[in-house]
Symmetry: C2
Subunit: 199 residues, 2 copies
Amino acid sequence: MARAGVTVERLAEAAAELADEVGLENVTVSELARRFGVRDASLYSHIRNAHELRVRVAVLALAELADRVAAALAGRAGKDALVAFANAYRDYAKEHPGRYTATQVELDPETAEASAARRHSDMTRAILRGYSLAEPDQTDAVRLLGSTFHGFVSLEQAGGFRHHPRGADESWSRVLDTVDVALRNWPAHASDADAGRAP
Amino acid sequence: MARAGVTVERLAEAAAELADEVGLENVTVSELARRFGVRDASLYSHIRNAHELRVRVAVLALAELADRVAAALAGRAGKDALVAFANAYRDYAKEHPGRYTATQVELDPETAEASAARRHSDMTRAILRGYSLAEPDQTDAVRLLGSTFHGFVSLEQAGGFRHHPRGADESWSRVLDTVDVALRNWPAHASDADAGRAP
DNA sequence: CCCTGCTTCCTAGGACTCCTAGCAATATAC
DNA sequence: GTATATTGCTAGGAGTCCTAGGAAGCAGGG
């Protein structure tokens, strides 16, 4: 009988596929074994436990997403870069909901270090070069971008915007406009936050 | 033998408690039965399935959170209200991580209608009265607030800000400043987004 | 007081998932 | 072609979800 030829890479890829189909929480060792035509016990030669499966999806997704963002960012700057960056995230989440969810699983320090997580924050910082923010404002801005984009995508995915006539796309582009303005009018201190306000 | 006295209310409360302790995904019918000193099969007289358990936690959390937000908002306006609103969310998420997670589970239309979801969007809109935004800008702004606050809280909860010297609290208050400025400089159209920009 | 009926809780058991232990088969390296 | 490491197997235990059907506690009216 020929072997199924299971490897961690093929396993992670299949798990990612499955996550997109049925959601990350329904990625199961048994189902994966079924898809490879193998008994579930056999998979434990390749992975330690079910959790590792999800971690591997996370690492894979983080890398894929970083590649996409990098491609989207190439040759762009300023608001153009901001929009491309944001759309890369949102489009990826739409195409690969399970993988995107995996993006949020907590990784232990070593795994995180070996992952594309650093590339993500580096690229976010690269965008902010167009807005000339010094530390620690830059870090705060990185967090603002991450929060806003992730929050929007996450709420949209959870169906939060479905029961209202206003389309999510319109809101999205308006949010991007607003973030762009906010980054340019970055408040120096809380007390003079309205310094740049129009009369 | 005396009865355990299980009711859906006590069940939902216990499930919420458990969710805060071990995470929503680990809220299990068996564990709950164990805590009530009852066989797991007995709980199915009160709930239909495990999913309903999570839905009930969601509804409970939504209501609790709405109460808190309402209390925080009382007597405040403008940026004051914005900050109180945002802190109510973040504090609740810190105190009740499992319940907060439940807040994001998708509810079927009837359940959603009967839940406090409407109160949430109403209160968000109430805050925006301080910034005089007409529709559809108001809806977009509601979504911006929801996205930014939920995104921040969600990333913070997932440990995204832990591996960096800059404290999450500082970034949070800076994010609030920025959102306040953004709401006041709301871009009329994408093309003249920088109308209110300082020289 | 006891009977009737409703609710709560039980036992029994099936299906599925996760995971371990130990063994067999197969590919690879020499 | 044989040795070795890898890959997959059977067997089985523990935990969870859920159904079916029956018993025990609790209410009300006679």
